[in-house]
Symmetry: D3
Subunit: 284 residues, 6 copies
């Protein structure tokens, strides 16, 4: 049975529940519009993940979307075009327009980036239509899984722009096949779950959305059963490693661990290993 | 029917045509020598790609080689050994020899690197013998495809040197399997099209060279049908991303897009999307 | 027949032999304890690889472990827990404890990192249980191969800590599938040889340990037959490339080669190519 | 006459006024406690500078403190010690304590860093006691000036810790005399205005606080009279330059300016230059 | 007596002579327009420095300007405004305008950057009006000296733009007083020779232009008397060092010197030292 | 009275004493040869500083040289030329010579770099002749002071080579006047104590060597009286900051301090502050 999660009742565009101990599940809830995003939604998403980041009752997060048709069809273009940031009304010249756009992109990047900055691991489950912003969002998650019916596209060039909320910054560091990355980004062509798996964009493909959520819950539950000190350190160091040389990363790791080896979790984990019992770790 | 491309008649070692609107096709034309390169050739190649980079009539480039036997057998060793840069004639000591070599390598790297710096996406089509310089050249392209008969080798250690025109700098960032990268670079062993595909060095393998060219033309035509503002921005940001942290890349992307969202292409693209018509974008 | 290698008789925890000309074979020799490591062992391992690095009689190194059951079960936790670095005895506060831990990690990282810094290519052969430190060690090798029965795990979170001897720093740069990297690091789940191969952690899987050693010996012998100037330059530049932008890497390569093209090996290699004879290169 | 600045009435710990058109003046207002900071204050300071950053009525900011005795005596140690972040109450082990400390430091760094991220140039005016946090804060400003009576100290080692809110990260990039930087950081010794000037920590020393504010107002007014597009671009590019290679910085600059040369300000500025009139620029 | 320098007769906007053995002197020659630059001029300047870079008869370069009034008044705004890059004629939208501007800036940066990339040390001598482009140009030189009458200004904000040809990228790395750097860049205020000296922008101030040229010639002659292998290596490594960590720089230095210690110059220099004779080094 | 320091009796080329509690003094002891270095000496120097780094009885180090004439005349060229690394005897080609040189430089850099890596602050006191290696050595220290009679020179170009033991890597990051740095490195000219002070190479100049040692002892004693946790953290973070962006440095600082705020030193320091007593800190 899925429980509610204390302290997350006030959010409008997302459902937040707790399918297992220390596991949170965030679901985009706008299925009637294919879970397309508008500004209020991504601002709220950022708030949710910033809150989860420090919530001691959460050790792993699942992120998916309500409904059968789409993880998200991306940005709600209609909403964006009405009096939105791309309107030139009231802007006196190109530089001032550019300044407004730049500020807007930073804010958008920060909201989406809250998924990556969340101290707890995030498992994203994609299904159905997963285009445009779907790729930006999922690139911020730690683990990507999807159902067989997922249709992906780095859609931005089709509406005349270069993806700016993170896909182009993160995809080359997530997938080790730059020829493929460039092809899908430059052509906006669709690719399916099998292709996504074969190039390593997702690490698992499940029969359908329900099975994918089930698998994500299992992985999240497994991760949540480990020492949160160990798990959160692992996420932090892996993200640091992606952006730094091996030498810098080793140095950062040593300093990190000099602080984080002072936990009771090591003793707890070792004892449980010997006794074959399930360890219980303090909150973090 | 393949048209000629205005302004490229004067080049000697390469054929340059336009198989489709806004698509250029550059072909190395020395099939009788397995398309082996000598200095004049790579200097000319650099000039061609610098010209294509700013040519408003070009939005995507295909790069392949004439003949059935080889994309290229690499450096023309015979030409290189005759009075070439490795001759010690007239050099008074090791430092002065090293200075000459270093200047020569920089010039060679710059010529080959013009493929990477070309603002328009480049699709390379390899076939047959594709060794040594073949790998350096193709690593500079955005999308790599090949025919089933391609035989690849990072050949340099076989002639007593470390690959210096870019293979060692780019291959680890193109292929996400460092064990394989090191094996082929350290051993100079051959690998075939299937292996190249399975590790992600090429993103497509076609039945034969003709089919590969056909596929490349389709991809190039598709890319050329998109907003050139969006496509060229996507290439630039992806190349920036490869060499920078995610944080730096996001910042660069925001600044880039603050300039590049001021195009008519967004409106054109959206309108075409609604009207289901083919959009026409201004030259760039 | 396997010969001994001059100058390596004094080491206690490792067998060192020479299965072929210019090839060294280092074997962890504590099979009764599943080749688990304690401090003396990794210090000795560091010494061995530092010695191999400059040994002119060695051009390629194989690294494996004695016995059928395990490449290594990782850190010998029992040994570590007895009066080890994690004991808080005699430490007056958390900062002083952290300082001792940090110094210890640096020393440990340096010993293991000697494999990566070794100027000669290192081929690691894993089999059976290969967990925890097994991943740290193998990430430092250039080429990773394994037998079909290998069971891998980035085990650290299971004992309450983030891997700190290099796995988290190197794995994301070795394997181009960040979703998979994060899953195995965050969950400590086991993965087998086939999975390791499909994501590119190992580049070959062999029927059993014997076959894997045989294959490693063939690759090592092949590499050892090439110009050592070319091979060692290739390793050095590839490692530099992993941690630097393409532009920096190209510059470093040009400077490196300006020195290293002054060898007789180029002429020797070319001549052998023409004459179809086996080249003999001077020691390095 | 000093006017109030619309929209800043609600702040408790800082006075905010507008001494000249487009110039904001932020004053720390806790003179009875030597302007020592506690948590509420730095959180508010962050909010103020985030608001100034996008306020079109502001083009330059002066930051100083109320009272004659101190710019700031640093952190209010008494407030910090009462139930603060360094208390070990309710923390089960060293790792959990470290996690709480780390989160706290990030939040503190972010608040103070808002001065640096503010798009408008910030001129800090220091006087009297300017120790500890005073250095962190002033390192985030663009221009540092002080009165003759200022007494500076990088005070942190005196209370048993390494400065963690930015002094150690920024001071070596602000002052080109690393021997001096290390001496004052390692010894916590005081230095006066003349020494601060001679090493380049401040760029001007004035007779007293009133003169220093007057000078800051003149500089701010001068800056505020220029094109805000030009001024804000200059700040952004200089901050980027500090943290990037020349090559990266040149690339970023070119992309930035490709957007920001589309302003009317260039024409306005040139015309004013010819006509010898004072230019009027649109808000930004 | 000043000799002409072989091979530089064809340049139009610059005088090129040889005041001493192995020393070249480049003088901007448009005194009637205060040596203001237009496009043809900076393209030619780039060509000259690329040629000097590889010219074996040149070991040090002096760069100054003809006439008494100005080193340069910067960009010839009048020339720039006539059908120049900032004209919006024939540009269909902001993105296409931005693309043209970006390409133009890159070309301009490359020409000016040829001074920095020149393998031989460059000593710039400034006098009189030295504003705008004067700062960009001189930041590319290795050694900056000036006469007492020099009036400097980072002038760009006064014409509504952020300096984009290199001042903002290089000045913070040349002068270790970031408060001052920001003040002069953000305010465009003038500063004189004494201030430039006291902050370290120039390393010498001479009585007048003639004396400054004389001093530059002495320094250049001294440098030209040293081993060119040593001098050019020193310049290259110092420029590398500016943009890299100490660890990367040490590695690069070791590789560089492994090639460059193979010169006869070491023996020549040592022998001359012993014999107290003037050493003669081979060309480079 | 100067005491001996336990555990340092076995060193041959250096005197090691303890002029004050927790202060070590290392003196180069070859005054009859102007303290010129040969290989044994720098290897020993590296060992000494590695030992001091972890010695709990040491909190600050003074490094100077015996005798009145010279801190060091640099490398002992005579010793170096006899069968040294630059001899080409027994080397078959330029690449093999280069490899030997490279290995040698790395070893040399590591020995000298031990001063920088020493966890305790190092104050170098220079006097008299201080050329060549003197600059490399002193650039590794944290604080540089000298006597009035010091004669400095970055001497390397005078013997036909680029400084390769660290001067070129560190000097531009120590002194914020790149024009001056380049002038002295490219010309090998001498500069005196006043010039060294005015550009910020040294932070203090004293009347004579005795006074300089006295001052160094005072600074060292002051530093040694502070919390060693705070002091050593300050050194580590400042060195990290020099080589990283502000953002990376802030992150590293937060992680460092999360471990290092768990000391009793904070309470000890604060209490002493209140009670006006001298604090006593635990060893580190």
């Amino acid at each position: 049975m899925v429980a509610s999660l204390d302290g997350y009742a006030g959010f409008k565009h997302f459902l937040i529940s707790s399918p297992a101990e220390y596991v949170a599940h965030v679901e985009t809830n706008r299925p009637e519009k294919l879970n397309a995003f508008f500004e209020d939604m991504w601002l709220e998403l950022g708030q949710i993940f910033r809150k989860l980041s420090h919530d001691p009752n959460v050790r792993a997060v699942i992120f998916s979307a309500v409904g059968e048709r789409a993880f998200t069809a991306g940005l709600d273009v209609q909403a964006a075009s009405q009096g939105g940031v791309l309107s030139q009304d009231g802007v006196s010249d190109g530089s001032r327009f550019a300044t407004r756009v730049r500020r807007h992109i930073y804010e958008f990047q920060d909201s989406v980036g809250a998924i990556e900055k969340c101290e707890k691991p995030v498992i994203v489950v994609m299904h159905g239509i997963s285009i445009g912003l779907a790729i930006d969002l999922s690139c911020c998650a730690d683990i990507r899984i999807c159902s067989k019916d997922t249709k992906f596209s780095v859609k931005e060039v089709d509406i005349g722009l270069a993806a700016d909320i993170g896909t182009l910054s993160r995809l080359p560091k997530i997938v080790g096949n730059l020829s493929w990355v460039k092809e899908v980004c430059l052509s906006a062509r669709f690719f399916d779950a099998d292709e996504a798996f074969s190039v390593g964009f997702v690490s698992r493909v499940l029969e359908n959305k329900a099975k994918a959520i089930e698998t994500a819950t299992k992985i999240a539950t497994l991760i949540a059963s480990k020492s949160p000190v160990a798990v959160q350190g692992t996420k932090d160091i892996l993200n640091h490693s992606r952006d730094n040389s091996v030498a810098e990363s080793l140095r950062y790791t040593a300093v990190w661990n000099s602080a984080m080896l002072q936990s009771n979790d090591v003793a707890t984990a070792m004892l449980s290993g010997i006794k074959k019992t399930k360890p219980r770790f303090e909150k973090l």
